[in-house]
Symmetry: C2
Subunit: 161 residues, 2 copies
């Protein structure tokens, strides 16, 4: 069995490498998309039909605690999870294909600095996420044309390793 980078990263956090965890981590890290726990559950079940919801939530929590994933609070009281590189905690989220691009901390740093300077507010932490349409999706349809033919292809992809 070959050790993947994801596996190695997981190993380093001290948790046990169960097939379920590996599947969940692999799923997130390879799709590059945000997904709710329910969506993760649905997809993992294709390979692990007997997995329970609790296991999915617990695994996701571990990933977040380890800094390998981030939990986004989406409107409607549903959390979304994204795989993320260390230090990249802001995102460009495509509302069409749900792809997530990382945005480095340096995007906010100057803004935070100017706020500290101008308003006397010491910034400890910032949330910054952009929602819109990624380059790929924009080029798939004419400029200004409404996004009616939304592709579901990516969403039904299996996370095959």
């Amino acid at each position: 069995m070959v050790e993947t980078p994801t596996q190695a990263a997981l190993q380093q956090t001290g948790v046990r490498l169960t097939p379920q965890r590996l599947a969940i981590a692999g799923l997130l890290s390879q799709t590059g998309k945000e997904a709710s726990a329910q969506e993760v559950y649905d997809r993992v079940r294709r390979r692990h039909p007997y997995i329970g919801r609790a296991t999915v939530f617990r695994s996701l929590d571990r990933l977040v605690a380890a800094g390998l994933a981030q939990r986004l609070e989406r409107p409607g009281h549903v959390s979304a999870y994204v795989w993320c590189e260390p230090g990249h905690h802001h995102h460009l989220i495509c509302t069409t294909c749900r792809n997530v691009e990382d945005l480095g901390e340096d995007a906010v740093a100057p803004l935070a600095a100017s706020i500290a300077h101008e308003r006397g507010f010491r910034v400890d932490h910032a949330t910054l996420d952009f929602y819109g349409e990624c380059r790929n999706c924009s080029s798939r349809h004419g400029r200004g044309k409404p996004v009616a033919t939304r592709k579901r292809k990516e969403l039904t992809n299996r996370a095959s390793r």
Copy 2:
């Protein structure tokens, strides 16, 4: 009965001016702090002991729909509500006193523009909130001293009009 700005703003949205709504709107607009529905409920109950939770949620929804308040998704699946000026949808949130300062849209605009330009990502909407310590709280204790003696005073204030 004198007409307050809050009352006038509410009136303009076409909803009926019930005592409960006025109390909730007054509460939010005057504290300038974020509050969960439960916290709003607890405080409003001091003046309206028979108010129901549902009424609080429905009133808050109206305020948000009218653009007079904003709903923030806080960690832990709890929503927080903040009174907000039209067009000011980003915030500086003090984690000590929970005060919320508005941040104009122009704070993000240049950032959004550069992202659109550099990464081909069309930004439709952005979330941006800074968490930290406001000027008042910083000056209440020596620089660098850990925030151990966190004041609860503000939180137990009555929202008396």
